[in-house]
């Protein structure tokens, strides 16, 4: 069986080839020269809706469902088979799976550190800055500095603030970094040089 498109065009072709006088008549009444195929069909040659339906029925008789041919048939406007078209069920396609963030391992020491962090944050919120005295802060900062560097040297690099970066102001970071550099008598250009020589 030839394609439905080819078949539906067939009557037009026949008329154009075999009946030239009719062409003249139609073209005269419709001067548009851009669409010769349409103009070539004279009024009395146009199939009636019933003929069109019969033609489509005849075509569909030999067309299997869910084939390209059947789809092109039911897509046609006013096709008597449109209602018979199987409703396409949207298929679910999984494009990507994004795993959950890695679960943290909570050691007793981590729990203690987290509790201490919460306590410090609470003291800042309450503006009770004297709660954690400078000597205690120095001990904490020194210990954390060594711990982070030891991890980095062991190849266990991680983001120093992680998502908590969203809760620390850039000014706070600059104040802290400046104070750390000053504490060990380093200039900013020395830090820059060291970073350009190493992967730090």
């Amino acid at each position: 069986m030839s394609s439905p498109k080819a078949l539906s065009r067939a009557p037009v072709k026949g008329k154009t080839d075999g009946a030239k006088p009719a062409v003249g008549k139609t073209v005269a009444s419709k001067p548009s020269a851009k669409k010769p195929a349409k103009a070539a069909v004279s009024d009395d040659a146009s199939p009636t809706p019933a003929q069109k339906a019969a033609f489509l029925k005849a075509m569909a008789a030999g067309v299997k469902l869910n084939t390209a041919a059947s789809r092109s048939l039911v897509k046609k406007k006013g096709s008597p088979f449109a209602a018979e078209a199987p409703k396409p069920t949207p298929k679910v396609e999984v494009l990507r799976r994004i795993p959950a963030p890695v679960k943290v391992v909570d050691t007793p020491e981590s729990k203690t550190a987290l509790a201490l962090a919460a306590l410090i944050e609470a003291s800042i919120d309450a503006r009770e800055l004297g709660k954690v005295q400078p000597h205690a802060q120095q001990a904490l900062v020194a210990a954390l500095c060594k711990l982070y560097a030891a991890h980095a040297e062991a190849g266990e690099r991680f983001d120093i603030l992680g998502q908590r970066a969203a809760t620390v102001a850039a000014t706070d970071v600059m104040v802290m970094c400046g104070a750390l550099l000053k504490a060990v008598d380093l200039q900013v250009f020395e830090l820059g040089m060291w970073q350009s020589w190493s992967s730090g």
């Binding site: 069920t89 949207p90 298929k91 679910v92 396609e93 999984v94 494009l95 990507r96 799976r97 994004i98 795993p99 959950a100 963030p101 944050e121 800042i124 919120d125 503006r127 998502q163 908590r164 969203a166 809760t167 620390v168 102001a169």
Partner: protein, 121 residues
């Protein structure tokens, strides 16, 4: 609109996401704190993959009585997801942009039938 099977709840870990396509729609299905949420993966800013970026707790800035800031903190329960292109941040429960809640991602209903999860699309 029909219910489309997207997977089993038991195979969908908490915090996990799936980007699926149903017909023409690309949808991000989230599981957060035991609940399922599904949104269009088409960012309202410039069409980026809105559901594929960072998930992060909402950052809040509580004020003291005298209206001074207590600094930035994470919200204890509210979660957001961030479009990876330019950082539009959407609320996990509503799909609304956190700065302007009138801007909302298209939300799809998620139906659970026993262990099976369906998205209505």
């Amino acid at each position: 609109m029909a219910e489309q099977f997207v997977g089993k709840a038991s195979e969908f870990k908490d915090g996990e996401r799936q980007i699926i396509r149903i017909g023409e729609d690309e949808i991000g299905v989230f599981r957060h704190a035991g609940e399922f949420y599904a949104y269009s993966n088409f960012c309202l800013h410039q069409g980026g993959p809105a559901c594929e970026g960072l998930t992060i707790a909402r950052v809040i800035e509580p004020l003291r009585e005298d209206k001074t800031s207590m600094g930035l903190h994470f919200h204890e329960t509210d979660m957001n997801f961030v479009c990876p292109w330019h950082g539009y941040e959407y609320d996990m429960k509503t799909g609304a942009h956190i700065a302007d809640p009138r801007v909302k991602l298209r939300k799809y209903d998620v139906v659970r039938k026993g262990d099976e999860v369906y998205v209505v699309a």
